[in-house]
């Protein structure tokens, strides 16, 4: 469904060229919950943001359902983006619009009629369990509720793919579990393909079917979650799995301090 071929991207940081993606090759099939893990700066966010062209790759192809999205013109790109939604770590809701208006936003920009929008918004709020909050403003909602609004908004135009950019990293463990359960349910009931990036192993273990590990702009291992986790090869994954067990949290902590 999504095929990434030799994807490259570099940035100029203080006049120095830094490679964020060094020729990524990856295949994501329909219906998978695909987790991309790695430390900060490994390039996972850049990779995810290339999938809806929030970042423009320097080279390579991204083929989604047979079409190379990097060749799209502006109009094609806007239509494509209505099929590929994204949710974010900090939710990114319209702060001066209430829950209803936030969820209605993608429907309005797609040019739907008012009564369809009304029906669809109610439907979406029911899916995410916020029927009674449609008149609230985001500042009155908890983190978990905000992310539910963001999910409802992302689902509005019936996307086939959902991109999750550290979607649970700002949430507490219990709320994280609830949001992950919701995502998994959407994956099962709607057949939604989910691509997520995270630095939380817990997230991967709970919902991913497949996983790719990134280090310094490259994918160092990749495959079905159980198989990859059974025999980790990369340094990153070994560290992640160990710190999960509580063994080398100190090491992890020290690295973060640097």
């Amino acid at each position: 469904m999504i095929q990434i071929k030799n994807l490259k991207k570099s940035y100029l940081i203080n006049g120095k060229k830094t490679d964020a993606l060094k020729g990524i090759n990856l295949r994501i099939e329909k219906g998978q919950v695909f987790g991309i893990i790695g430390k900060s700066g490994a390039g996972k966010s850049t990779l995810l943001r290339c999938l809806n062209l929030l970042e423009t790759p320097d080279d390579g192809e991204i083929i989604v359902e047979g079409r190379d999205i990097t060749k799209f013109n502006k109009r094609e790109l806007r239509d494509y983006r209505k099929n590929v939604s994204m949710i974010f770590q900090h939710f990114n809701l319209l702060s001066n619009s209430n829950v209803y208006k936030n969820v209605a936003f993608p429907l309005e920009i797609a040019g739907h009629k008012k009564d369809y929008i009304e029906k669809r918004v109610r439907e979406l709020l029911k899916i995410v369990g916020l029927e009674d909050k449609e008149n609230e403003y985001p500042s009155n909602l908890s983190g978990g509720q905000k992310q539910r609004v963001a999910i409802a908004r992302a689902l509005a135009n019936n996307p086939k793919i959902l991109l999750c950019d550290e979607a649970t990293s700002a949430l507490d463990p219990l709320t994280t579990k609830q949001i992950l359960d919701l995502l998994l349910e959407l994956n099962k009931t709607l057949g939604l393909t989910i691509v997520l990036i995270t630095h939380e192993m817990d997230v991967v273990e709970r919902i991913c079917s497949n996983v790719a590990v990134m280090e310094k702009g490259e994918i160092v291992e990749e495959g079905i979650k159980e198989e990859v986790f059974k025999s980790p090869k990369s340094k990153t994954l070994k560290q992640f799995l160990q710190s999960e067990k509580g063994g080398v949290i100190y090491l992890d902590f020290k690295e973060r301090a640097i």
Binding site: N52, L54, L93, S95, N96, R153
Partner: protein
């Protein structure tokens, strides 16, 4: 007292006239410029850094000309647009043009405050640039925009009094003709009080609405 009132009231209406239309036209001229500056910024949606810096410089040049000189420079333009260089109608032309670059900067800074993540979310949902301007940028920045427009009105009230000095009409004109040239201190004091009240009411109204619609 009655005599003063008879003098002041028509001038007060002239001031309101000048302030209202100058604000209106300065927004019509300045707001699109401000939006344009935000969009063409090097981190904006339409990245055109060269054009951005040219427009930015033009705005700075206009803003650095003292208002009293700007009025003189714009006399010919007033004559072309309203047919005269004297009176309240004539003053609207330089007032609008002097305030437009100010509005552009006010709008620019208000829109730049909008959370980048929210704009990104709108882009990721397939919104076009005009949709983002109307439904995201302006809507999210509305409280700051209202405060900015309030600031503009207060400035125009001050400028409009200045315009009175060279034949602009309104309260400033009255203050010069009676308060200064005829030594009528009582008229001068009344005009100052009216200006203070006008500014105070404008500012309080602006603050009230900005606060009321701010849900952040």
């Amino acid at each position: 007292m009655n005599e003063i009132l008879k003098l002041v009231f028509p001038s007060f209406l002239d001031t309101l006239y000048m302030v209202f239309f100058s604000t209106l036209f300065s927004i019509i001229l300045g707001a699109p410029l401000g939006i344009f500056l935000v969009l063409t910024d090097k981190e904006g949606l339409l990245k055109m850094p060269n054009l951005n810096s040219i427009i930015g410089s033009l705005i700075n040049i206009t803003r650095s000309i003292p208002f009293i000189i700007l009025i003189i420079i714009l006399f010919p333009l007033s004559r072309v647009i309203v047919g005269t260089t004297i009176g309240k109608e004539a003053a609207v032309v330089p007032l609008s043009i002097a305030a437009a670059p100010f509005v552009a900067r006010v709008v620019e800074s208000a829109l730049k405050e909008v959370n980048k993540g929210v704009i990104e979310a709108a882009v990721s949902l397939g919104a076009s640039t005009p949709q983002i301007v109307l439904k995201v940028l302006i809507k999210e920045a509305l409280p700051s925009l209202i405060l900015g427009i309030t600031l503009t009105i207060v400035n125009i009230i001050g400028y409009s009094a200045m315009a009175g000095v060279i034949g602009g009409g309104g309260i400033g004109d009255l203050a010069v003709r009676y308060g200064y040239q005829r030594f009528r201190t009582d008229v001068l004091i009344v005009t100052v009080i009216i200006l203070i009240l006008l500014v105070e009411i404008t500012q309080r109204t602006g603050n009230y609405f900005a606060k009321k619609i701010d849900r952040r």
